[in-house]
């Protein structure tokens, strides 16, 4: 699946998007976050426990217990500041 990062998270991770193949036991967004932390120091910092960020699966905001089954694109981003 494709993982995308926005705003400061993109800079901290070091890439805007990446293709990942998490192991089968990663079934929720929260589990994906925990697994991604192991990829690099930037990932660990951007996705740190307690950091304020949200997630979307296939362009819809979801809670961290949302299932990943069938997901094509998962995005992580800081709180929105538009308007």
């Amino acid at each position: 699946m494709k993982v995308r990062y926005f705003a400061w998270m993109k800079r901290t991770v070091g890439v805007a998007e990446e293709d990942v193949t998490p192991p089968a036991e990663v079934t929720t967004v929260g589990e994906l976050v925990a697994w991604l932390r192991g990829k690099s120091g930037g990932h660990a910092e951007a996705l740190a426990e307690g950091a304020a960020f949200g997630a979307a699966v296939d362009k819809r905001t979801v809670p961290f217990d949302a299932k990943l089954a069938g997901a094509h694109e998962v995005a992580f981003f800081p709180p929105f500041t538009g308007g």
């Binding site: 995308r4 926005f6 705003a7 400061w8 304020a52 979307a56 362009k59 819809r60 905001t61 995005a75 981003f77 800081p78 709180p79 929105f80 500041t81 538009g82 308007g83």
Partner: protein, 156 residues
């Protein structure tokens, strides 16, 4: 109903003209135009002067989120017309960022729906502001006041 996300500026007069032409059921049109402020003001005091803002967004999700918010406004109020135009990219102080316009037979629904749309788009549409200041670049943080403003429209 219409939502647009674009880099270019918009002409408020032309947009309103197009929105209302041909619909004589509209008795009131409420309009909000957001501009880039030269000072970043938070919690009542002035902080950094900014040279520019760069608005990043999530193409595809942004449009879907704005359409959802707009549809919610139409469910809650008797609206005849609505338009949301939001810019992205680099904007300097004084430039327009966002246009929200709502037409209804009566002014009360138009005012309320316009305020609702602005409050919700700030917290529910995926935009992020990066400030270019004399001290360097700085991502704008979420504002508790925006969350409170959005929360008052949540249905109990």
């Amino acid at each position: 109903m219409a939502v647009r996300v674009q880099e270019s500026d918009f002409d408020v007069g032309a947009e309103l003209e197009r929105l209302t032409t041909g619909n004589k059921r509209i008795g009131g049109l409420a309009v909000f135009v957001g501009l880039v402020r030269e000072m970043h003001v938070r919690e009542g005091y002035h902080r950094d002067r900014i040279d520019a803002l760069t608005l990043e967004h999530y193409p595809g999700m942004t449009e879907a989120a704005l359409e959802e918010i707009e549809a919610e406004a139409h469910r809650r109020w008797p609206l005849e017309a609505s338009l949301i135009v939001h810019r992205h990219g680099r904007l300097e102080p004084g430039e327009r960022i966002v246009l929200v316009a709502v037409g209804s037979p009566h002014r009360e629904a138009a005012f309320e729906a316009c305020e609702f749309l602005v409050d919700w788009l700030k917290t529910k549409a995926p935009f992020w502001k990066l400030e270019d200041t004399p001290k360097g670049e700085k991502w704008v943080g979420a504002h508790a006041g925006d969350d409170q403003a959005a929360a008052r429209w949540e249905k109990k």
